[in-house]
């Protein structure tokens, strides 16, 4: 059986066998040629090989030389061809696997092996600005789909060679190429072992996106918050890797996974480190406040106005009461309706082409919002609360999903049980967030468990002179189960 999978050296047999194994797929090209009386064949996938490169680096020099036998052709190619990878392959399965990723396989009559050359040249999206992590300052590069291009972007930023790239394949059918990026001197060996173990346990047939890997890297307990981060910025990935984290890139996905990932990291952005510390600190505090507003404000407004109106100043209370007098629904229903409408409009605006999306947003904001107030369906203060909440939720985009779900929960609780229900649910939510361990590191670290030295980049952002002195590794945070490493 093993012999049947090996290259025989008889060109016709080998080509027939390759066709059989690939189920005679239409995009597999086999191009037999004869040089100095020696029969050889190029095997490649249509549209995945750079033909100009192939012509210049291989075909022209090959045709201008004399060869006595097949082995001589291979040894000449191995010594002189200037292309990416050059590999000796002996099995059909391996040949096909490489050919499907853009390699060119050469089979020579009489030689029981194949030479595989990396002359990939498939079309891909060029490097563009990041969409989900837009920044004011700093690099404008974001990851693109081909893994190799992404790895180049990371390597360009870490030229000392301290970062290690470890490739792996995932998906029994898709055989998607992935790469773990880590700094051997910084990463915890336990963390590395655990990530490798979890990646090995993935039993998916097809892996098309890093999102497929995310649940396998996260813990088993159900939680709204993600223990694995995502970034489309190579500079962010480099910074995380230096702190002892592991980044995972996947071919065909412009997003890198980052593990472990902490709650406080949702509030950090690359811009923070390009600005003056006082301004970065202010922005960070703004983000924390926005996060609380986006979760609790509508619920708290409903709860206070319904159950605890005495807390509000008389003038504000009077305004709210007069606005609500004309509306037919209780506050809790108003809040739910308008939030539901807002989510519909947001989703529609997101999926539609940009010009249409803008139109939908304008129609939603101006026409429906204004019309609902004028028609007396919804009170004006509620529209203001929803608008503030909606804007706040975009300040921390990585937490949008849990925030949206929690907002609805807190509106319902605020409207039915008042402050009591909200406080109880808040405490429960806090416990459920605090119990998360992201690959051995408490998700809420370094706030709780508290690490004083890490505080310079959590609620506040210290200046670079202070931060340059000592980099804090993820395993050195208080409460981490990973073995501590000496700070350098």
């Amino acid at each position: 059986m093993e012999k049947e999978n090996r290259v025989t050296g008889d060109l016709s047999t080998d080509l027939v066998r390759l066709r059989e194994i690939s189920h005679n797929t239409a995009d597999l090209i086999t191009r037999p040629i004869t040089i100095c009386g020696i029969r050889l064949s190029f095997v490649m996938t249509e549209g995945m090989v750079d033909l100009n490169k192939l012509d210049q680096a291989l075909i022209r020099p090959l045709l201008s030389r004399n060869f006595e036998n097949g082995e001589e052709i291979f040894s000449w190619m191995e010594q002189t061809t200037v292309v990416g990878d050059v590999k000796d392959v002996f099995e059909y399965g391996q040949i096909l696997s490489l050919v499907m990723t853009g390699f060119l396989a050469i089979l020579v009559d009489g030689v029981p092996r194949s030479l595989v050359l990396g002359v990939q040249g498939y079309p891909y999206r060029s490097i563009s600005e990041p969409n989900s992590e837009v920044n004011e300052k700093g690099s404008r590069e974001s990851f693109t789909e081909p893994l190799k291009i992404n790895l180049t972007m990371v390597r360009r930023r870490m030229r000392s060679g301290s970062a290690c790239f470890e490739t792996f394949e995932v998906g029994s059918e898709s055989r998607t190429l992935g790469c773990m990026i880590y700094k051997p001197e910084a990463v915890s060996p336990e963390l590395l072992r655990e990530v490798r173990r979890r990646l090995n346990q993935i039993n998916l047939k097809v892996v098309l996106d890093t999102g497929y890997l995310q649940p396998f890297l996260e813990g088993k307990s159900f939680t709204l918050f993600s223990e694995v981060g995502m970034s489309e910025r190579p500079d962010t990935v480099c910074a995380k890797v230096l702190e002892g984290r592991i980044a995972i890139l996947l071919d065909g996905t412009p997003f890198a996974l980052i593990a472990p990932y902490l709650f406080s990291e949702n509030f950090q952005s690359f811009d923070d480190y390009c600005r003056k510390p006082y301004f970065a600190t202010f922005i960070r505090l703004l983000k924390y406040i926005s996060f609380f507003i986006s979760i609790f404000l509508p619920g708290a407004y409903v709860a206070i106005a319904t159950f605890h109106p005495a807390v509000l100043p008389h003038a504000l209370l009077f305004n709210i009461a007069s606005a609500e007098e004309t509306t037919p629904f209780p506050l809790v229903f108003e809040a739910l309706i308008i939030h539901f409408l807002y989510e519909i409009m947001r989703e529609a605006g997101l999926r539609l082409p940009r010009p249409v999306g803008h139109a939908v947003s304008i129609v939603g904001a101006l026409v429906i919002g204004d019309a609902a107030v004028t028609a007396g369906i919804i009170g004006a203060p509620m529209v203001m609360v929803v608008a503030l909440t909606a804007i706040s939720s975009f300040v921390v985009p990585s937490l949008y999903e849990p925030v949206m779900v929690l907002r609805f929960i807190f509106i319902i609780l605020g409207g039915t049980t008042g402050i009591y229900g909200m406080a109880l649910a808040g405490a429960l939510l806090l416990c459920s967030i605090c119990q998360i361990n992201s690959l051995g590191v408490p998700y809420t670290a370094p706030i709780s468990p508290f690490t004083l030295s890490a505080m310079r980049d959590i609620l506040f952002r210290a200046g670079w002179r202070r931060m340059a002195g000592k980099s804090i590794k993820i395993q050195n945070l208080w409460g981490s189960d990973l073995t501590r490493r000496k700070e350098k």
Partner: protein, 369 residues
């Protein structure tokens, strides 16, 4: 990779919050019945008393190198089961009283006319789920709640600062010493969290002794501040008011906010939730330790938590339904006898039995080997 241990600081903050639950009830303020220096002096004395009474328990744990329940079973064999049993009865009662306190406060002061039982059931259900999440999550959450608690206390203090009348703090009277001693004992009798500290020592990673001292200091400062505020602001009104600290928050005014009670109530609900969760967690651990192996193999242990939760709610419901029963329960638990038995009498007895059987010496030899 997951550990089940917490740090000393986390335990201190967790128990500090559990103790601060009593802040809203009348428990802590009118134990002496004298608003003034007697109350303020009774607090440090009660802390000293707590430390002294907990000494045999700490000694037993140090000698046996085990937790309290394990030490009881190790020294006294099957008879040692008496300790976790009495302990669970005590803790269930305290949990029931805690739930009752919160539910009756909410039904009377915040949501007049609503069912107190609803608050009790909702709280217990949430706490039950939190127990399932574990001690680590609870202790980490306590650190964050602690900051909110401090903010709330600070805002209340600032909000009532204009109303502080130092004349309200009465000087010592002739028979003050007996009042102070009696007050100290009463404060001790309401300090079930000291006992909780003793039970949680095995789950602390390091600095156990220091943590206990810090806990006493932190609780002492908090009690002094609260007692001072209540006495200085409310004066005589504090004696008759059912929830004196809550009253402070209703009159605290900061900027556009006319009162701080909504903020304070939400913090208090969180604190109560942490307290009930911690009590249920400790109880389920204790019962788990004494559960027969056969029952553990049959998976019966999973019923411990629901059983304890239901028991606590039933107890709270009985108290909510009958004021006389509630008073009886509150009075009987406030005698301090249970704390004395669990922290001093029984541990001393186990120490004696262990010494007579030569267990400690044997343990020492084994450890040295």
């Amino acid at each position: 990779m997951k550990t089940a241990q917490i740090s000393g600081a986390q335990l201190v903050l967790l128990l500090f919050l559990c103790r601060s639950f009593n802040m809203l009830t009348a428990d802590m303020h009118n134990v002496t019945g004298h608003y003034g220096m007697e109350q303020l002096l009774a607090i440090p004395l009660s802390l000293l008393l707590q430390a002294l009474i907990a000494l045999p328990a700490f000694l037993l744990m140090k000698k046996s190198n085990r937790g309290m329940t394990e030490s009881a079973l190790w020294t006294a064999g099957k008879t040692g089961v008496i300790f976790p049993m009495i302990s669970c009865v005590y803790l269930v009662t305290v949990t029931g009283i805690t739930i009752f306190n919160l539910a009756s406060f909410l039904a009377n002061a915040i949501y007049p006319g609503s069912s107190a039982l609803f608050f009790a059931i909702a709280l217990t259900a949430a706490a039950m789920f939190a127990v399932y999440l574990g001690l680590e999550g609870l202790s980490r959450a306590a650190v964050i709640v602690f900051f909110f608690f401090l903010i709330s206390l600070f805002l209340t203090t600032v909000g009532v600062s204009e109303r502080i009348q130092l004349l309200n703090i009465r000087p010592l009277e002739q028979d003050s010493l007996s009042v102070i001693i009696e007050g100290a004992w009463k404060i001790f009798a309401r300090s079930s969290t000291v006992y909780l500290f003793v039970l949680l020592v095995p789950y602390v990673k390091e600095k156990k002794g220091k943590s206990f001292i810090w806990y006493l200091i932190a609780v002492g400062i908090m009690m002094e501040v609260v007692s001072f505020l209540v006495t200085a602001v409310l004066g005589e009104l504090g004696v008759t008011e059912a929830y004196p600290f809550f009253m402070l928050t209703t009159i605290a005014q900061i900027s556009i906010f006319q009162r701080m009670d909504a903020l304070h109530v939400s913090i208090w609900v969180m604190v109560c939730f942490l307290r009930v969760t911690l009590f249920l967690w400790v109880m389920s651990r204790q019962l788990h330790a004494v559960l027969p192996v056969r029952m553990r193999e049959n998976g019966r242990e999973r019923w411990i938590l629901p059983f304890l939760s239901i028991l606590s709610v039933i107890l709270a419901a009985i108290m909510l339904g009958n004021r006389k029963t509630a008073d009886f329960m509150l009075n009987s638990i406030s005698t301090g006898i249970a704390d004395l038995v669990l922290m001093a009498v029984l541990p001393s007895a186990f120490l004696l039995v262990g010494a007579l059987r030569g267990l400690f010496e044997h343990q020492k030899k084994e450890e040295s080997l």
